[in-house]
């Protein structure tokens, strides 16, 4: 049993919903065209295909494109030593996807982190609170339109934030330059 065979089984079950498996450096990714079906696909992947371990859930902000967000599920079968990746898009207007806690309980904190950092809500989550920032923080800091230095906020007796002084930064190191003076962290414009 290989990851590709698992991917083809998944595709045989759901047909048009799942695009052709993409292989990159021996890792298989599957794109699910309708994010509303994610719970059914994940349920099948765990109960029938033995992908019993949810390694992580991550999110991507494709800023300026539509749909804006991509949610990525990293699945693993511990017994068969196979990894499979599921991707699905969520539009900014919807910003909501079904929770998979009823399938893998470990999804609880992964989904809370994505809600905290990216602002995508998970319907059916029993405890959808922020996990790193505090309740009442008004922004989603890993979105592309959020500045690296941050924005000023104030929640009395809880927390406040101020923009960090970047001094023209962020400072970037260039790996391939010959001498250490050229490699060291400097303010570098992307055009250079």
């Amino acid at each position: 049993m290989s990851a590709l065979e698992l991917a083809n089984k998944l595709k045989a079950k759901f047909g048009e919903l799942i695009a052709e498996p993409m292989e990159f450096r021996g890792e298989i990714s599957l794109k699910i065209s309708d994010s509303a079906q994610i719970h059914e696909v994940c349920n099948f992947a765990k109960r029938q295909l033995g992908l019993d371990y949810l390694v992580d859930i991550t999110s991507v902000d494709n800023y300026g494109e539509d749909p804006r967000f991509t949610i990525i599920y990293h699945l693993r079968s511990v017994a068969a030593n196979i990894e499979l990746r599921l991707k699905t898009d969520v539009s900014e207007e919807k910003s909501e996807i079904a929770s998979v806690i009823s399938i893998w309980r470990t999804a609880n904190w992964h989904e809370r982190e994505i809600y905290d950092m990216m602002g995508v809500r998970f319907s059916g989550h029993p405890d959808l609170r922020r996990i790193l920032m505090w309740e009442g923080y008004p922004y989603f800091p890993l979105r592309k339109d959020f500045p690296l230095a941050g924005k000023p906020t104030d929640l009395p007796n809880v927390a406040f934030t101020k923009p960090a002084p970047l001094e023209g930064g962020p400072f970037v190191t260039v790996a391939e330059k010959a001498d250490s003076t050229a490699r060291e962290p400097r303010v570098r414009n992307p055009e250079e």
């Binding site: 790193l132 920032m133 800091p141 941050g150 927390a159 406040f160 101020k162 960090a164 930064g169």
Partner: protein, 178 residues
């Protein structure tokens, strides 16, 4: 000729006399038992633990009594990255410490935010509490912590303790000094 006085001093029993000023004596007591409040928040805390362990031995300077209660400690050593989420707790712990109290900002993060030019990190703990000594380094070596402690001792020994203190003299007895 009086045969006795109200105050007797027997040098055979009590030892020799050292003459000093009251505030110098108080400062000497204070600076040789600075009890730290180890506010360990990141990797600097590991170096702070090393400073407290046998190889570097912070007890040579009277600071081996690490107190995890703010009510029993004199000097808060902020060792590590202070996030905005932690800032309120840190301020609250500092406010609970009894006077006199001092703060050492240990390492780049506590002093300036360090490499974290970020939405989540306080850019220097001196924005929320008054800092007496800054230690550079990322993280600083335990020797640097001990050096900061000695500098803090020098600072304590020059503080005018009695300036704001009300001293009752014999003539003041029975009156209320404001």
């Amino acid at each position: 000729m009086p045969t006795h006085t109200d105050f007797a001093y027997d040098s055979k029993i009590e030892g020799d006399v050292v003459v000093t000023r009251v505030d110098a004596a108080l400062n000497w007591f204070r600076k040789n038992s600075v009890w730290p409040m180890p506010m360990g928040l990141a990797c600097c805390a590991i170096e702070l633990m090393a400073a407290g362990a046998s190889r570097f031995d912070i007890s040579r300077f009277g600071s081996e009594v690490m107190r995890f209660s703010p009510r029993q400690s004199d000097c808060m050593i902020v060792a590590g990255t202070v996030t905005y989420k932690m800032a309120a707790s840190l301020k609250r712990i500092y406010d609970q410490m009894a006077e006199p109290k001092w703060v050492i900002a240990m390492g780049a993060c506590a002093s300036t935010g360090g490499m974290y030019r970020s939405y989540a990190v306080v850019q220097g703990v001196d924005t929320i509490v008054p800092v007496d000594i800054y230690i550079c380094g990322c993280p600083p070596r335990p020797e640097a912590v001990l050096d900061a402690l000695m500098k803090l001792q020098n600072k304590i020994s020059t503080e005018p303790v009695l300036k704001d203190l009300n001293i009752f003299t014999k003539a003041d007895r029975g009156t209320v000094k404001s």
